[in-house]
């Protein structure tokens, strides 16, 4: 397996040249205090170092060994506790955290790059701090001051970690039917009882305390999603002076044996009258999760990219090295028995597809991250409202499209290895197994598509969509006369017109067919994904074209060539997707359930 090399050049290109995030920071006082280009760059360098030399070496061994459950205790694989120590000593758990409580206050545009590197190196490891960061976001946004003061500093420092306890055996997608109960106590706390399953990092040996954020219902709560509240339930109770007290009445019943991310503990958590505290308002538990959820969903999307990037690096090295067959245009490596397989067009197709999708994904996640930053830090409310709408619209695309294409890419990366891709020692099959979960958790990709089409497009009659379409239209307008961009502007404008047309079509269909959204949503999300990637590629190429002359590194030239591949070989998929979406729901629903 190739050594992981963080794609810092591409990250810098996006941050400094395409999106010019430093200019954005200057307009946002709370960010301009913490973030500047030099510091950001030093952070990326160090994150690359940690990912490459601390986390990547534990990826394969962690997969082989897995986690171990013994009498309620969970042990992570060899090397994980030490690596976690080093990781938290670096302060990485608090990267995006609120500075008031010891966080670093770094923007998400930087956080997304750091997450990519960590997840490329080791998804299983990356999940522990990722869950902590998610719990901190919810707690910081909705928790009472005493809770924030008591818990956030130790969570940002990583001494304590976090978990998110939503799923129950009978309740996954449909959280409205959860059964975990919270009974009010005389001292203002709650006694939480119930069973949660699939809890990532619910128990492990990395941190001194684990702070669970648990969804539960009060005995008299309204039925359905409107009766759900959010509680903070620590593994160890915390004394007034901040020291650890008694063990709370909760425990880990077992861990799952699963397809991938084997070094990440997926736990059954039993709460038995455990002491907890309300976070946010009663019965507003799901709403409290929303802010956090956009960050987490983008983070899961980035996992898709991260695994695909690793797979790509391995596949390129292998394709240059493995000799098999001769190039169609005549022998290339004449001194060898055969040519390296990178000469074969079909191998190229796979490598170019991964590359085009990865660079598109990195641009798109950075783009969405920039709206998350605006939504959180912008000074004027109009910018915030606008950014919030775009975050709402684009997050399901980032989560589902990046993980679906990321999974495809890890399979391509495996395919490049032929039979060797199926063998453990090359590492390609682990990437396929590890990334597969990203399509499922944090809301399945099917649910993301429903969210996009139902809630984010149809429910507001295309208002959010219009914001996005207008931005793309403005870009097209501004560059229509630019000869350097001509070959890209025409297909981009055709694609956005197609998407707008399909969107309108669906908005009409919804009125007469309740199944219209459900039947079309995944294809619609893909159509949206390819179209927004076309916009990303056009923006990247605009910069690349202006800098390609005299550049001896080949970076800009490769950008332009990869953009051409995206436009000619991948964007045409939007035509087929548009046709599928427009065909309606009837044929999907025609077969009676008993005839399957």
């Amino acid at each position: 397996m190739a050594d992981y090399k963080a794609p810092l050049r591409d990250m810098r290109f996006l941050l400094n040249e395409v999106f010019e995030v430093a200019k954005q920071w200057e307009t946002m006082p709370r960010l301009s205090e913490t973030a500047d280009p030099e510091t950001a760059d030093a952070i990326l360098e160090e994150a690359a170092k940690i990912s490459q030399s601390l986390l990547a070496p534990l990826n394969r061994s962690g997969d082989e060994e897995g986690c171990r459950w013994e009498n309620g205790q969970v042990f992570t694989p060899a090397g994980f506790p030490q690596a976690y120590r080093t990781f938290i000593e670096g302060g990485w758990c608090g990267l995006g955290g609120n500075p008031e409580f010891g966080g670093m206050g770094m923007p998400k545009t930087i956080g997304a790059q750091v997450e990519e590197m960590i997840q490329s190196a080791n998804i299983s490891f990356g999940l522990y701090p990722m869950l902590t960061a998610g719990a901190c976001l919810a707690l910081d946004a909705h928790g009472a001051d005493e809770l924030r003061e008591k818990y956030l500093p130790n969570m940002y420092s990583g001494i304590w970690s976090g978990s998110m306890c939503l799923t129950e055996p009978h309740s996954g997608t449909d959280l409205g039917i959860i059964r975990t109960k919270a009974e009010p106590q005389a001292d203002g706390s709650y006694a939480v009882s119930g069973t949660k399953i699939f809890i990532t990092g619910g128990e492990h040996d990395l941190s001194d305390n684990i702070i669970h954020l648990v969804l539960a219902k009060l005995p008299d709560a309204p039925a359905g999603p409107k009766g759900i509240s959010l509680f903070l339930v620590p593994k160890f109770l915390v004394n007034e002076d901040g020291s650890l007290g008694a063990r709370n009445t909760l425990g880990c019943g077992s861990i799952e044996h699963k397809m991938g991310i084997k070094a990440s503990a997926t736990c059954v958590m039993n709460f038995d009258g455990a002491k907890g505290w309300l976070v946010g308002e009663l019965n507003k538990g799901l709403a409290c999760m929303f802010t956090m959820m956009n960050y987490e969903r983008l983070g899961v999307g980035v996992q898709g990219l991260a695994a695909a990037e690793r797979s790509y690096q391995n596949a390129v090295e292998y394709a240059r090295d493995r000799i098999q067959g001769r190039a169609a245009t005549g022998p290339v490596a004449k001194d060898k028995a055969a040519d390296p397989i990178i000469v074969h067009p079909d191998v190229r197709r796979m490598l170019m597809t991964i590359r085009a999708m990865n660079e598109g994904s990195r641009a798109f996640s950075t783009y969405v991250a920039s709206f998350l930053d605006m939504a959180k830090y912008a000074d004027d409310s109009a910018t915030r409202v606008n950014a919030e709408a775009l975050v709402a619209l684009l997050t399901p695309v980032a989560k589902a499209f990046l993980t679906d294409r990321g999974f495809d890419s890890t399979v391509f990366g495996q395919q490049v290895f032929g039979g060797h891709g199926y063998i453990r020692e090359w590492g390609q099959e682990q990437l396929v197994r590890d990334v597969r979960i990203a399509q499922i958790y944090e809301g399945t990709n099917g649910i993301q598509a429903l969210d996009l089409m139902g809630r984010k497009v149809a429910a507001n009659n295309g208002k959010f969509y219009e914001l996005f379409a207008n931005e793309v239209a403005a870009f097209i307008e501004a560059n229509r006369e630019n000869p350097a961009l001509a070959e890209f502007i025409a297909p981009l404008s055709a694609a956005i017109e197609r998407l707008s047309d399909v969107t309108e079509h669906v908005l009409n269909q919804v009125k007469s067919d309740p199944n219209a959204v459900g039947a079309a949503s995944v294809d619609y999300l893909d159509l949206f994904g390819y179209t927004s990637f076309a916009y990303m590629w056009a923006r990247m190429v605009l910069v690349a074209k202006s800098k390609v002359e005299g550049d001896t590194s080949g970076f800009y030239d490769s950008k332009i060539k990869t953009a051409r591949f995206f436009f000619s070989r991948l964007l045409p998929k939007t035509m087929a997707l548009a046709e599928s979406v427009k065909s309606g729901a009837a044929d999907t629903m025609a077969l009676a359930a008993e005839n399957f």
Binding site: D3, T34, A42, E46, G91, G94, M104
Partner: protein, 249 residues
């Protein structure tokens, strides 16, 4: 006690170095640069001395182009307190480096000066020794252990036959070997603090040193490609080949 550490910006150890087409040197355009690994060890040792309360201030100095400030910032993020950048675009040779460092030593008056034993780009292994001679200080090269007590420093050196321990009177020069320590990762809070730490820029002229090269590089070429090996059938054959073909025994 103040500790002065010299750090050099070099081609990253992960990069496969390529010779320029005109054979005048190594191609450094578009190549990742980093702090010389032995210098990282020197910074780490100084920071540890500070953490142990032995050192009161750690000053890092780097000689090189504007971009060398990145390496100074890296050292500041690892825990050094102050940076001095001697800015020059000339490829400064070991003797000139030693002269510039001597000027900085005179200004800063450190009790201990730590350098890498060599830089991985030119592998000269000269600067520390030259600096010791110019300053008239004692030197302990290839250090694998450094203990300061009072006005003395005890240094365990890695020599061919094993380890040799020497005691030097301070101020003294120490150059680091690989086993001295394992450098830490920079922490986020320190990375963020680094930009607020002082970094002073001076020129060789300010320090009164002429850095004009005295050596002329005639040609730089890549090492000859290794030819394929062969498998020998027996120990006898191996011995015979070592004797008769390789002529090494």
């Amino acid at each position: 006690m103040k500790v002065l550490v010299a750090v050099k910006r070099v081609i990253d150890y992960n990069v496969k170095a390529r010779v320029k087409a005109d054979q005048t040197g190594v191609d450094l355009s578009n190549v990742k640069m980093a702090m010389n690994p032995f210098c990282e060890i020197a910074v780490e040792e100084a920071v540890r001395l500070k953490e142990r309360g032995v050192a009161t201030e750690v000053v890092v100095v780097s000689i090189g182009p504007k971009a060398a400030q990145e390496q100074i910032r890296t050292a500041l993020a690892l825990g050094a307190d102050k940076g001095v950048h001697v800015e020059t675009d000339v490829e400064v040779e070991a003797l000139a480096v030693a002269k510039l460092l001597k000027a900085v030593v005179e200004k800063e008056q450190p009790g201990l000066i730590i350098l890498g034993k060599q830089s991985i780009d030119t592998d000269n292994n000269q600067t520390g020794q030259m600096l010791a001679a110019l300053c008239g200080y004692g030197q302990a090269t290839f250090a694998s252990e450094v203990t300061v007590s009072g006005d003395k420093v005890e240094v365990t050196r890695e020599v061919d036959g094993g380890l040799r321990t020497v005691a030097l009177k301070l101020p003294a020069i120490v150059t680091t070997d690989l086993r001295l320590n394992e450098p830490r990762y920079a922490s986020l809070p320190n990375i963020m603090k680094a930009k607020k730490k002082p970094l002073e820029t001076v020129s060789p002229a300010d320090l009164g040193v002429d850095v004009t090269p005295r050596l002329k590089t005639l040609k730089v070429v890549e090492p000859a490609k290794r030819s394929a090996g062969i498998k020998v059938a027996s120990v006898e054959e191996l011995v015979s080949k070592l004797k008769n073909e390789a002529k090494v025994i």
